[in-house]
Symmetry: C2
Amino acid sequence: MGKTTRKNAVVGQSGGPTAVINQSLVGVIETVAQYGEIDRLFGARYGVRGIIENNFIELNGLDADRLERVADTPCAALGSTRDKVDEEYCRKIFNAFAANDVRYFFYIGGNDSADTARTVSEMADEADYELRVFHIPKTIDNDLRVTDHCPGYGSAARFVTHAIVGDGMDNASLPGIKVDVIMGRNAGWLTASSMLARRDEDDAPHLIYVPEAPLSEEQFVSDVAEVYGRLGRCLVVVSEGIVDEYGKSWNEQIVRMAHGAEVERDGHGNLQLSGSGMLGDCIANFAKTEVAARFGKKKLRVRADTFGYLQRSYPDSVSPVDRDEARLAGRKAVEYAADGQPSGSVAFRRTGNGDNYAIECFRAELQDVARITKPLPSKYINDAGNNITEEFRDYVAPLIGELPVIGKL
Amino acid sequence: MGKTTRKNAVVGQSGGPTAVINQSLVGVIETVAQYGEIDRLFGARYGVRGIIENNFIELNGLDADRLERVADTPCAALGSTRDKVDEEYCRKIFNAFAANDVRYFFYIGGNDSADTARTVSEMADEADYELRVFHIPKTIDNDLRVTDHCPGYGSAARFVTHAIVGDGMDNASLPGIKVDVIMGRNAGWLTASSMLARRDEDDAPHLIYVPEAPLSEEQFVSDVAEVYGRLGRCLVVVSEGIVDEYGKSWNEQIVRMAHGAEVERDGHGNLQLSGSGMLGDCIANFAKTEVAARFGKKKLRVRADTFGYLQRSYPDSVSPVDRDEARLAGRKAVEYAADGQPSGSVAFRRTGNGDNYAIECFRAELQDVARITKPLPSKYINDAGNNITEEFRDYVAPLIGELPVIGKL
């Protein structure tokens, strides 16, 4: 990345990928190409790590067909990172920008990335260096503040909905107790989307547990036993982040029992939740013993699946709405830059719903999006804390595109 | 189910469901409606269990729209069963048929179902009772003899292919070692289909292990270390049925270590493999320790996903070819009946490949399909036993429909 006499820009991708994160990237690339102010656009490999390690790809002059193929490919085409970015790390980012005439930074990520964007932007202000930083929201967790919803969420929710329709039918074919574990460390938005799979009262999912509603072992057993007693089957959707009545993570306690002090944490101090079937297996074994005991049975058919990384990467089931909005978010970031707007985060406001679903974009302040996440509001959780209210259907249905067909004899 | 003066028919679904098993069911229902010989068509709930327990749904006079919705819904609309069917069970089935003027039995299932069909057909012959039994092939395992391939396989293979494309991109975004566990107790057909995800040499999957090629722990560690050392990442696809150099199941040994003698077996004496993440987790933990040691690293990013029941039930990613062929298989079974052909199994013969892919149907003998399964031929497994040959691409590609788009920067 050499010095130029004009203004350069950097784009990067951060955190857990989504199925449409490259739509936002291509939205940036194609809009920068239309905007004469920016001389060269550099893609940082592996997020901010590429910036401090001078690992870039030049993104000018790529042909439209290739860009379209990249846009349709899931996960971060530039590579991503889980690096914990502190003040010192931000200083290195800023220094790299200042040394290379970078005047625009487009960063596609979640709340941590918004915080990085905010810090780097403030450092530039303090140094009187002209730099504008635009955060482009991305997370399957849908837990960013200000915006109505996040690019990446709709496709993950579509995957979960279809998966629960299919698995619910599987569990009706060969009845038993089924536990499905869904991503979402602190927020239940994705887990809650599974409610779209339910059309008739007896359809799966029969129980939905989100991190926002504490769940005791006693309640779990009694809920499952009630459904199983009534229907002869029960499909339970569980967020990987569920907590017990004392606010302690089920997953963390299970992992700690298995591995002792040797638990794996990421740079943010978070326990590794995904990429393991342990939570689902433990809940299934627990149900096999405890629910069976309630019915005086020696054994019950209990199975668990952990949907894992497919939720954020499966390419054959992308929500068309989500795909288009992710592209739009990337385009808008560059338009805000071109309009001379200050640093900020692209946000969506819903202007119509149901059949008239529509959004408009606006620029949110980085500090309002950074760090703190947005939990699933309590109005979407039923009083018993074991299901999602119908009101949530209106919120989430437009985001996933067409609902699955269900026919019964 | 009352007595009639005319000829009745029964249709049933058996074993693990597929995403297109209802296409075959609807193929039977719509073709029976065109065939005046058959008076009433009864659907057996939960496979042969419905026959011996007199649990039926009448399937005459259903409207076409509803049938089409049922056809597009994954998993067994009639319900399925894992009952082990012995001679005595078959006798009960035959007695139920004889008592109710059932002259045709259409049974959608795998090799066990073909064996049930054969036994019941032979009992009818011995009793001089006119009964014709048609087996309609169905299995995501693709392990039936005689037929070129099985309805249900193409959609499962499409799911696996797209899942590995997505997960491979995820693992390129945030590099590490990834283990994905695929269904297939004895046959590696479904696991092998993951090779379609690989376009460029460095693409996932980097290693593919099928039950037909024994795998020692030493080979696993050395294979993964080689790929990881070369690319800085490694995605491994493993069949749930892999065996070690002594022919012993990895999964069985792992489950036995965890649960001792308390292992769960189905009516066929098979160990429960699906519905648990244990194999993937154990392989991941093993890689975390052993591969890390080779590189003198304290920790490596290692994750595992077990694709589980989504492989056979995910409704938003069905192969159009598979969908149409599953319907055709159901229709053909009734046509064979209408033509006065003897009992048999519907089979496919491939008459064109690649862009000219085409099949024709023929009637196979039940005894040639029953019981014994068809392993993945050794010509499709590379010499090192850790990957699938390019020759397999020609076999499997036409079965999944359009391949995923992949774009890179």
